[in-house]
């Protein structure tokens, strides 16, 4: 059931001006924020017919203006950063710091019932960022006193955290709750996404890109959407992955090498909104314009919500229950201004791309990652075949000749004779190596058994060993996953043809495994392992 955002009163459709409205009526001059001034100044033009703000509480991060860093690499929360709660119905109370005692804290995420909050933080400046959880009390004043527990500790240096739904595996007696967090891999230093079972705090890494993954966001269908650096390292694309690390797929990408996409969120009507910048400045925020795609058809429905222009930059959108967005926005610095403007929190209409209400802004802070406190629909729980004890996964392709919607020439020099498997064992470019080359069947199919948890990319080779196609992005398989591909760069909206491919009538070639048989595969019909029924 769709829910209504609790603080928007839809019963009062009259022309709305913040001046004199309830949001302002009780506001004492002493606590009148900069936001009020903006609202009043622009009310006649910007906020006509906007609904009245009545009751709502927000949590968001506040970052000191003096801070700097690189958000994508995780250095986005300098010391002094904090998480606050703000009751729009009692603006006179101002914000309440929820993270007293932390040297830095931020990136909050709220549980689906709206009663608990995950965030990343560190008690001392020298600590690594961990994941913490606290209760959100019913009244703002006591919120800060709610229990705080540490969920994820060293060796991970966490940068983001999300509540997930449940995951079920056949060896469990019931689905178990998960959280996801983004952190630097303790060994490689790469940004990766991890999940942790709430029950036993067991942690699994679920992304194995060579170039770093960050900004996870859970979609309503239970998948995780995340940003990943392109191989060129100058831009990012959005990918989806199941919460067990299987079936990584492109979600929103273009061939523009420098396009930067991050901070995705899903609205209740199935749009995914993210921040995009065609020429990002790798500062601490990487703000940009807002772009939306339909989750149902993400590769072909891109539309710009806020044109990228000189009007300012947006940051960390989150969905409101009524279809609008809660965003952080800052105007561009003007000439003669002593210091940069800070991010404030606004309500934005997706249809008009206009900021319809200013909610909060404190001039001395960047107010980012805003969330409405309240219940929200829980994403779909997932089940999984992954079994970490296996250590290997399978990868099969139905037709390597399929590009777009066409089938490429499969004769002469264009015939795909072999498939080269390249791995990056520890996720770094320096250790990229050829794991093996295996034959491709005449119908274009192949079937491999490959090491799990390893970034992989594939090259097709002609009969003389020359590379025909080179896969740019990296994929991986999880233990016991059987990852299927339709073609090589096939149209992502194309479904597999219903035919029995030749490669699947025999056992898989083993590639890159301890008993490595590179280019000398096991006999055609060895004993199949036979998964337990």
């Amino acid at each position: 059931m769709p829910y209504k955002l609790p603080f928007l009163d839809h019963t009062r459709p009259e022309r709305w001006c913040p001046v004199g409205a309830s949001v302002c009526r009780g506001a004492a001059p002493a606590v009148a924020t900069w936001a009020m001034a903006i609202l009043c100044a622009n009310a006649p033009t910007l906020y006509a017919n906007a609904p009245r703000l009545t009751v709502a509480r927000l949590v968001f991060s506040q970052i000191p203006v003096e801070s700097s860093g690189d958000r994508a690499s995780g250095e986005s929360l300098p010391d002094g950063s904090r998480i606050v709660i703000y009751d729009t119905s009692h603006p006179e109370a101002g914000v309440v710091n929820l993270t007293h005692g932390f040297a830095a804290a931020g990136r909050p995420d709220l549980s689906f019932d709206g009663r608990r909050m995950l965030f990343i933080g560190k008690r001392r400046s020298s600590d690594r960022y961990g994941v913490w959880e606290m209760g959100i009390a019913a009244d703002t004043a006591s919120a800060a006193a709610a229990d705080i527990t540490r969920i994820v500790d060293s060796p991970w240096d966490c940068r983001s955290v999300n509540y997930l739904s449940t995951i079920y595996t056949i060896d469990k007696d019931r689905p178990e709750r998960l959280i996801a967090f983004g952190a630097k891999d303790p060994d490689s230093g790469q940004m990766a996404i991890y999940t942790m079972l709430r029950k036993d705090h067991s942690v699994r890494r679920i992304t194995f890109t060579r170039d770093g993954a960050f900004d996870p966001c859970v979609l309503s269908d239970g998948r995780l959407l995340f940003a990943c650096w392109k191989p060129e390292g100058t831009g990012t694309s959005l990918f989806t992955v199941n919460t067990d690390g299987t079936d990584v797929s492109a979600f929103a990408t273009t061939h523009e090498p420098s396009a930067y996409r991050a901070m995705p969120c899903e609205t209740q009507d199935g749009d995914v909104v993210y921040v995009e910048s065609s020429n990002p400045v790798h500062g601490w925020d990487n703000g940009g314009s807002l772009v939306a795609v339909s989750r149902k058809r993400s590769l072909h429905t891109r539309r710009t919500i806020t044109p990228e222009s000189r009007e300012g930059t947006y940051h960390s959108p989150s969905a409101m229950g009524d279809g609008r967005l809660l965003v952080s926005y800052r105007a561009p610095a003007s000439k003669g201004q002593e210091r940069e403007r800070t991010y404030g929190i606004y309500i934005l209409s997706r249809t008009s791309g206009q900021r319809v209400a200013a909610v909060f802004d404190a001039p001395e802070w960047h107010d980012v990652t805003p969330l409405v406190v309240g219940p929200r629909p829980e994403p779909a729980g997932r089940s999984s075949v992954v079994n970490v004890a296996k250590g290997v996964g399978r990868l099969y392709g139905l037709d390597a000749y399929l590009f777009g919607t066409e089938r490429a020439d499969d004769t002469g020099d264009r015939r795909i004779a072999m498939l080269r498997v390249i791995g990056a064992a520890d996720g770094t470019k320096a250790r990229e190596e050829v794991l093996g080359e295996v034959p491709v069947e005449a119908d274009g199919s192949f079937f491999l058994e490959v090491p799990s948890h390893t970034p992989l990319r594939l090259q097709t080779l002609d009969p003389s060993g020359q590379v025909l196609t080179d896969m740019r992005s990296w994929i991986w398989v999880m233990p016991k996953e059987s990852r299927g591909c339709i073609g090589c760069h096939e149209d992502r909206e194309l479904t597999p043809p219903n035919r029995l491919v030749k490669a699947l009538t025999a056992a898989p070639y083993r590639v890159g495994l301890p008993e490595r048989r590179v280019a000398a595969p096991v006999p055609r019909n060895p004993r199949r392992e036979g998964y337990p029924k």
């Binding site: 269908d221 239970g222 149902k296 099969y396 919607t405 029995l500 009538t505 055609r524 019909n525 199949r528």
Partner: protein, 831 residues
Amino acid sequence: MTRGSRLRSIECLAAWVAVSLSMASVANGQPVERSRDSAAEIPFYVGQTVCSDCHDRRNDTTPCWLDDIPKHDRSYGALAKPKAEHIAMISGIAGDPASSRICLACHATGSDAGARWQTDSFDINDGVQCEACHGPGSLHVERYCENRDTRNADGRVGATSTHMLTGLRTRPVHDRTWIQRGDQTQCATCHWPRSSHHSVLELGYRVPPADRLYKTPVNLAASPDGDWLYVVCEQSESVIVIDRARRRVVDEIAVGHQPSDLGLSPDGKVLYVTNRLSNSLSVIDTGARSVLREIAVRGEPHAVVASKDGKLLYLLSTAENVVSVLDARTLDEVRRLVTGQGPWSAALGPGGDSLYVTNVRPNLGLFQASPVSEITVIDTRTSVVMNRPVVPEANMLQGIALIPGSDVVAFTLMRTKSLVPITRLAQGWTITNGLGLVWPDGRVAQVLLDEPNASFADLMDLAVSPDGRRMLVTSGGSDRVAVVDVGRLLDTVHRASSREREKVLPNHLGMSSRFVVKRVDVGRNPRGVTFSPDGQYAYVANALDDTISVIDPDAADVVDVIDLNGPKTVTELRLGARLFHNAAISFGQQFSCRSCHPDGHVNGLTMDIEADGIGDSPVDNRTLRGILDTAPFKWEGTNPTLSRQCGPRLAVFFTRLTPYTPADLTALVRYISTIPRPPNHHRDPAGLTLSQRRGKIVFERSETRHGRLIPPDQRCVGCHSGAYRTSRTSAGVGTTMWLDGEVDIPLNDLHETGGFGPLGVYYFHDVGIGMRSFDIPHLTNIHNSAPYLHNGSAATLEEIWTRFNLWDEHGVTGDLTRTQFNDLIAYLKAL
């Protein structure tokens, strides 16, 4: 290939050739040995009063232990108790338990053969009698008891007998007692814990009254004058009449069991309703709103369409794969036309000169080949099949309608990726749903209605507005209706190249954005859809919330909802039905339980399931009709209950979402248990035919026709025993093939066709590799669940033995004459 295995393959082939030649000689009119098929050789059930003429308990030296169990006398009477009705209902037995062959199999005697094979002295009210264990006794009475001097020295009757061998080998009468020896092993065929009985008798389960009151509207039609809307309701077994102007229910007319579809005469004065479970056609006077006649038909009548002049009716029998052409006045059948597999729905073609019939299951084809379905086109002027255009890679062809103003007929379809391992669901990996278009010259085009990350599951029906501009398609699995711009749909197809029509359009998830105007939310499980004659509104039957959605096709929105006044409470059964039909159970809403089990039955496909090890390990789909007491489940026989079958494993290997909650799982299992098993049209209510009766003797025989004893585990009845014809265990029957993942295959090249058996599949038994055991399936209504064997390699029942039983491992059948073999098949079809 090793030399040994090659030789064995040659031997195997030689044996097959020998069997084929044997069959051929019979076919040429020269049977190897003519069976003794006289009815006089076949015993009848005589009843215990006749038995007691000789076997007086006080005097007989061979007392029967059954005499000490008086409950057996009362077993038949137990079927009249209210509890019996509850047991029947929750185990998929339709109608009166006292007339159910499944119930009678244990509560009475001789029910399998039927009343035709009972003498006047037989009284079914006597319950479980002597002949329940000893078999029919007429020959024993006639021949043995008249020659009492042949009695054994110790005076025991039947001490040396085995089974009747009538028609198999002539033996001297004095060698035989002409009756089976009864022993207590037969008790186990009935006396085992049944979930159905336990639920009612021990746990006290009773079917809630509300479950008898739901309406479940499944199809509807508007009267030609537009005044009335007729709604067929499956669960209330009625036709509800709605005043279309006031949008109110005005009348309800009782019809037969499980009505499925309706058809109006051209003048709208007569309404025909097909009743699937009662195998009947109700004829309703729409003026008087009363049933004029209800005639018996056969083969699960699923739809009926009147010819354009109203003189003929076309009745689709989905279990029999025929269209019966009926004289609309007399309702006599004037012709029977063979269709594809499972005729489902039909619509008149351009000008009314043709009838287009959808078939829900694909044609029987080659093993591991992509399914091909058929649209059967009938010339209504001559009542002959004029064309059978095929729809490649498609199954579940259901709703169908002519696009007015054109010569194109549109139909719904499903494209199940039966040859692609089910290792993921994204990108339309497992099942896609779409529309087919067929032209009079037989050209067919397909497009998908799914979106890349949101399927439009289980397309049930479609209707086209009278002006041909709008098409509405119901998605029973996602509770939505797609409003299609017909012009843009046709334009999309016309603009595509022939290659795109063949390869791209049927497989492209983004294509529907070109012609789907909107997907409209309606009630639960929308099925039938129809337009008003003026095209102003469309009406959608929401089966599982007993409502009709009224849709403005131009606005593409629901403007009203008509309540059919069903119970508002949601019972466990109702919840189970909703879960069964809802695709929200699967990632991307790609499929529901119903997607593979239309009407609780099969889709005629085999699928490669990841749990079996990916590659090429298909397993045949099995029916859900009346399976509660046929545990264990799954072809490996590893699931002892339906809860396990439908529980977590389903989530992990199929739906990829979180498993059902315990409460939901209980409800789902309850619903699945109640899916009724339709009556078998191969079985005469009076009992088995002579051929079937002979086949039963073959089925139960213990010796070959050459007199060799058949080991108990190689007799048909040895494994297929009891009411459901399953001993509920597993057995290896020589059907293990190279594609069964756990088998070590000593072949050098799987693609060397010479290394395989006649079907291109390899047999392991002759290379010293153990057979895998598979669940012994029940055989009820097996005539209608092709293909057969665990992997669906046998397209017909006959193929099970003519192609896959060369070494008599699946029952001894190599010695059978063609007549005996045909008798056996006839009997199996009657189960």
